[in-house]
């Protein structure tokens, strides 16, 4: 491998990286002289791994120069250690576990995702929203109120403190957030609201609901149509596992399992009626249908038959 054509997954020798580090230090102290510049060019061309090392070096320089120096210095220079870390959680606004997603901001004020896509965004007021697969939300903020219009799909909302009220709107009615974390899902003829922190006031389009009866509190969920509020049920945090790319089933009818997974794929999942009331449990990946199906089949000894885009699950 001395001909400079080493495969890319080979580690770059430490000695080469050390040379690149020396060049970086030289550049740090001031602009390179023309002779040094030529020497660097020569060094880069000498071997493929030199150039690879230099690509990394340039990427590092780009990253460092993209940072606001003072803020970055204060952040990176923090005392590290257990005590400092422990105090940290108090200041966090619930964003931490999402870190493996790139944060993306939509164009303008509207956000949408296609099938099998998710999107996380931080709005101008600090409110955080996460869109599930095949969803759309319009964000309408003005000086008097903050309105999130769920046009389709499902959105998870963690509100930021702000003097303006935060409302969410669906086809069936309006929701007023009372300092809170909640998710809203648009179903065929209903809205499903689940509250995880604080409380949300529900106002179905045409229903008369006695004051006080339309407040959904943390740990509760409800379905409502334009005319009716359903019964209040228990909301589970595991329903939000889609934010992490997972479906957590806890004694879930297999038909519902298939229905849930279909939100993340263009394939049609069908269960053999003979499966009856079979219930399943476990954690399944929503972005890897073959694996999810394999896990289901393995655990419950089922057969999975593919015909084009149709998947049939049976014993």
């Amino acid at each position: 491998m001395n001909n400079g054509t080493a495969p890319l997954d080979d580690a770059i020798p430490q000695q080469v990286l050390a040379q690149a580090a020396s060049w970086l230090m030289l550049m740090q102290e001031g602009p390179l002289l023309p002779a040094q510049q030529r020497e660097l060019e020569r060094w880069r061309r000498a071997r493929a791994e030199h150039e690879r090392a230099w690509q990394r070096a340039q990427r590092l320089l780009t990253r460092l120069s993209s940072l606001p120096p003072t803020l970055a210095k204060q952040t990176l220079d923090r005392p590290t250690g257990r005590r400092a870390v422990l105090r940290g959680l108090l200041l966090l606004i619930g964003a931490a576990p999402l870190s493996w997603w790139a944060w993306r901001s939509g164009v303008g004020n509207d956000y949408q995702t296609s099938v099998a896509e998710r999107q996380h965004a931080r709005l101008a007021d600090g409110t955080q929203i996460t869109l599930n697969s095949d969803s759309a939300v319009d964000v309408l903020f003005n000086s008097a109120q903050r309105l999130l219009h769920l046009r389709r799909g499902e959105v998870y909302i963690a509100t930021a403190a702000d003097p303006r009220p935060l409302m969410a709107r669906t086809q069936q009615g309006q929701l007023l957030a009372l300092g809170t974390r909640f998710s809203v899902r648009q179903l065929a003829d209903e809205t499903l609201l689940a509250v995880y922190e604080g409380a949300v006031q529900v106002r179905p389009e045409h229903a008369r609901v006695a004051p006080g009866e339309n407040i959904i509190r943390a740990g509760q969920q409800v379905r409502f149509s334009r005319e009716h509020m359903g019964l209040i049920e228990e909301a589970r945090e595991s329903t939000l596992a889609w934010r992490n790319g997972l479906l957590v089933a806890d004694d879930m009818p297999v038909r519902l399992w298939a229905h849930e997974l279909m939100r993340y794929t263009d394939q049609q999942l069908e269960c053999d009626p003979a499966l009856g009331e079979l219930r399943v449990s476990g954690t399944f990946p929503i972005d890897d249908l073959p694996l999810a199906l394999a896990m289901l089949a393995q655990t419950y000894t089922l057969q999975v038959r593919h015909t084009g885009r149709h998947v049939f699950i049976s014993r």
């Binding site: 690879r52 990176l76 944060w103």
Partner: protein, 179 residues
């Protein structure tokens, strides 16, 4: 719930599924104990993170069967836990630094997220360095200080400053992936 363990040399793709089903509850408890002051939700989120890592790390072509599932999970869980804690302290330091700036000078929320990602990346690269080395490196790269000024500020010899900064650059370059 009684999926059999795969035999050690099996090439069947069932080891990941078995791992999930048999160890999910155990892992959640393991994490909940270590994160007991932070609530169950955090432990659940991290458990998801860990299984996600197991999934992605086993997508490659050379997949070996998992012989000791709990030891394997504990190893990944520890990495996830350490990096999560580092991230927590980074975000806290960021918010504190931000508070020192007047509001109009704050970067936009979108830009802040981008900056935080970059900071997290750099922070991870610098993680193994001794505090002094890290300090000298940050003075050179972020404060734009000359090496001789760093020597004065830290009260160390110039060759030591050079050694420190070189060590830090080398650590970064070593850990960075090729793009």
């Amino acid at each position: 719930m009684n999926a059999p363990f795969s035999p050690p040399n099996s090439t069947e793709p069932c080891s990941v599924e078995t791992l999930y089903i048999e160890n999910h509850a155990w892992l959640r408890n393991w994490l909940a104990y270590r994160l007991r002051s932070w609530g169950r939700g955090v432990a659940d989120d991290l458990a998801h993170d860990i299984f996600l890592r197991v999934l992605t790390s086993r997508e490659g072509a050379r997949v070996e069967p998992i012989r000791q599932p709990r030891a394997y999970l504990t190893r990944i869980a520890n990495c996830v836990l350490v990096s999560w804690r580092r991230r927590q302290s980074l975000e806290r330091a960021w918010l504190e630094a931000l508070q020192l700036l007047p509001e109009p000078e704050h970067p936009s929320p979108e830009l802040q997220s981008v900056i935080l990602e970059t900071l997290h990346e750099i922070d991870t690269l610098l993680d193994t360095l001794r505090p002094r080395v890290r300090q000298a490196f940050l003075m050179a790269t972020l404060d734009g200080m000359k090496q001789k000024d760093i020597a004065v500020a830290l009260n160390i010899a110039l060759p030591t400053v050079k050694k420190y900064i070189h060590e830090a650059y080398l650590a970064c370059l070593t850990q960075m992936p090729d793009e």
